[in-house]
Amino acid sequence: MTPTPLLSVRNLTKHFPVKSGLFRRTLGVVQAVDAVSFDVLPGETLGVVGESGCGKSTTARLLVRLTEPDSGEITFDGAQIGGRDGPSLRDLRRRMQMVFQDSYASLNPRLPVGMSVAYGPFAHGLHRAEALERAAMLLEAVGLDPARYAHRYPHELSGGQRQRVNIARALAIEPRVVILDEAVSALDKSVAAQVLNLLVDLKERFQLTYVFISHDLGVVRYLSDRVLVMYLGKVVEVGPVSEVWAHPRHPYSRALLAAMPTMDPSRRITEALLTGDPPNPINPPSGCRFRTRCRFAEEVCARREPPLRMLDATDHAAACHMLAPDTGHSLAGGGAEQVGQAPAVGPTR
């Protein structure tokens, strides 16, 4: 039995033109997100990992329409966002909320944090007293005693406390999906651990679904059920987190995981699998975008873009010519199982 996805993304694309000079000529195009497709299942945490410029934050902003996509479809609970009978933007924001990395920039500095949390429900039609009551309940839920903290201003709180307020605010209008964009990345380790535990508890208590975006692989592994690996605006691999960690199939995922310090004094890393920095997302390489850093790159990799293919029965998919038969790559067909050209990825087949 496969559950119906709560959020379904198909061919999501966003290109930013780079303009310069007196006449604002277009010098190039940043293909921030290019034909990205994935599903988010109800109740799961989907982790999104990748390095700077891979498009993970743009993807998050496209999901909640802080940025308008160039093309592609987003379906929420079976209804297409922006479609004729689908939910409006206002409805969408009510069901999907976002928490950002910079806890200070995301709060109004002139509003006590209790008011910040109450603002959303108030704007969505609750009476003032009810909204404040809900704010108090949520501050309590994120571990901040409302009697002590509700009247404080953002600058009077620590980074960890401010991030708790942001989480309370995101939950205040009872969303079903919370998108966490590097939400614990700016916090110190000991404080980040508290917030991570809080996120696990809140998810259970409020029946939430998370999209958790981070460059920190350790944190993603800890929190996620499935993980999406992105590189230069493309999804290169997606699968259950345990499966991807144990058997990463895309050469980029393998290199990324191998670059992660082991924290084991007897297993220090002796070799970097990748050299150089991620390339500039302006005018990315043809074919497979990873080929310029891939040690297995062949002629076919420059010529054709590898589609994301389902690999086996574990809902694990990757986009690499080596993983499918008859692609023309000398190492092709390494046990991959072709499932046609369908871009859809996820447990639904």
Partner: protein, 335 residues
């Protein structure tokens, strides 16, 4: 160097190459006096890599800046003894400290864009450093710059020397900064979170590069980081810093495998690594103390699960918990 040594009447004894005793740094602000470093002591021998692990505000970067002689002004109070290559940093003049920098001690930072001059090419900046410290011709300096780029593995040497900092990627800028820091072959390299702003695949390249250069050049390195993983990759010895103090110091394996201070234990347990969410991370409750009104006693006491009356009463002394391994905790003992 030898001229400077003679003029100061110091014999340059090279063991240990850095020696710090009871370093204290306070910043006077309008809100009060911030006690950033509160009695730090350590020795660094030639060729050794000391990792200083700590969260923000623990005083790790301030310690490095003090060693580099970068803390000056009316609002800074630096106390204690710091000897670098035999010289007492506190008693040197500004000019003498400047002479030590580059040839004896050099520093790299988290953000190369703040260190590199945006108006000059990488080549000009390396040559400038070499000429200023070694009084060689521009030609010699140019050859040296090429050699340095090769050493830090920046491909396309001659062409790259003509590049401006903004034309380089983050990883390449970090390498260029390392090249400048190493241009006069310092005996001591201070590294302040040099890999923190980098992507994980680039971070490991820089860590491996630093490890290789440290070995090849026989430098002593102090590597400051908040990242346990990075510290494990480079350090021989590890100091764990909290509220301006070393809470624990010892051989890196010993500190990581059998941490003896409750703070170290908490920090390692709260670092999510290799675990799935079926078992919870153990977080340390509360947050680090404000350094303005630091209460007497152990600064970790308010967050410590083992806290006792004696922790609050007096500052715990360093206790030996193993070979070359100390922990600043009343409960710590040899077994």
């Amino acid at each position: 160097m030898s001229a400077l040594a003679t003029s100061l009447g110091v014999s340059a004894t090279w063991a240990p190459v850095v020696s710090v005793r009871d370093l204290r740094v306070r910043f006077v602000t309008r809100e009060g006096t911030v006690r950033a470093v509160n009695g730090v002591s350590f020795d660094l021998v030639p060729g050794e890599v000391l990792g200083i692990l700590g969260e923000s505000g623990s005083g790790k970067s301030v310690t490095l800046r003090a060693l580099m002689g970068l803390l000056s002004g009316d609002r800074v109070r630096v106390e204690g003894e710091m000897r670098v290559a035999g010289f007492d940093i506190g008693r040197l003049t500004e000019a003498q400290t400047a002479a030590l920098r580059g040839r004896t001690i050099a520093m790299i930072f988290q953000e190369p864009m703040l260190t590199l001059d945006p108006l000059y090419t990488i080549g000009e900046q390396i040559e400038e450093t070499v000429i200023r410290h070694e009084h060689v011709t521009r030609q010699t300096a140019h050859a040296r710059a090429l050699e340095l780029l090769e050493m830090v593995q920046i491909p396309g040497g001659a062409r790259r020397l003509k590049a401006y900092p903004h034309e380089m990627s983050g990883g390449m800028r970090q390498r260029a900064m390392i090249a400048i820091a190493l241009s006069c072959r310092p005996a001591i390299l201070l590294a302040d979170e040099p890999t923190t702003a980098l992507d994980v695949t680039v971070q490991i390249q820089i860590l491996l590069l630093l490890r290789r250069l440290q070995r090849e050049l026989g430098m002593a390195v102090i590597f400051v980081t908040h990242d346990v993983g990075a510290a494990v990759e480079v350090a021989d010895r590890l100091a764990v810093m909290y509220a301006g103090r070393f809470m624990e110091m010892g051989p890196m394996d010993a500190v990581i495998r059998s941490p003896r201070h409750p703070y170290t234990q908490g920090l390692l347990a709260s670092t999510v690594h290799g675990s799935f969410h079926d078992h919870r991370v153990e977080a340390i409750p509360g947050m680090p103390p404000a350094l303005i009104e630091l209460a007497p006693g152990c600064p970790f006491a308010p967050r410590c699960r083992y806290v006792e009356d004696r922790c609050v009463a007096t500052d715990p002394p360093d206790r030996s918990v193993g070979a070359d391994h100390v922990a600043r905790c009343v409960r710590a003992s040899e077994d």
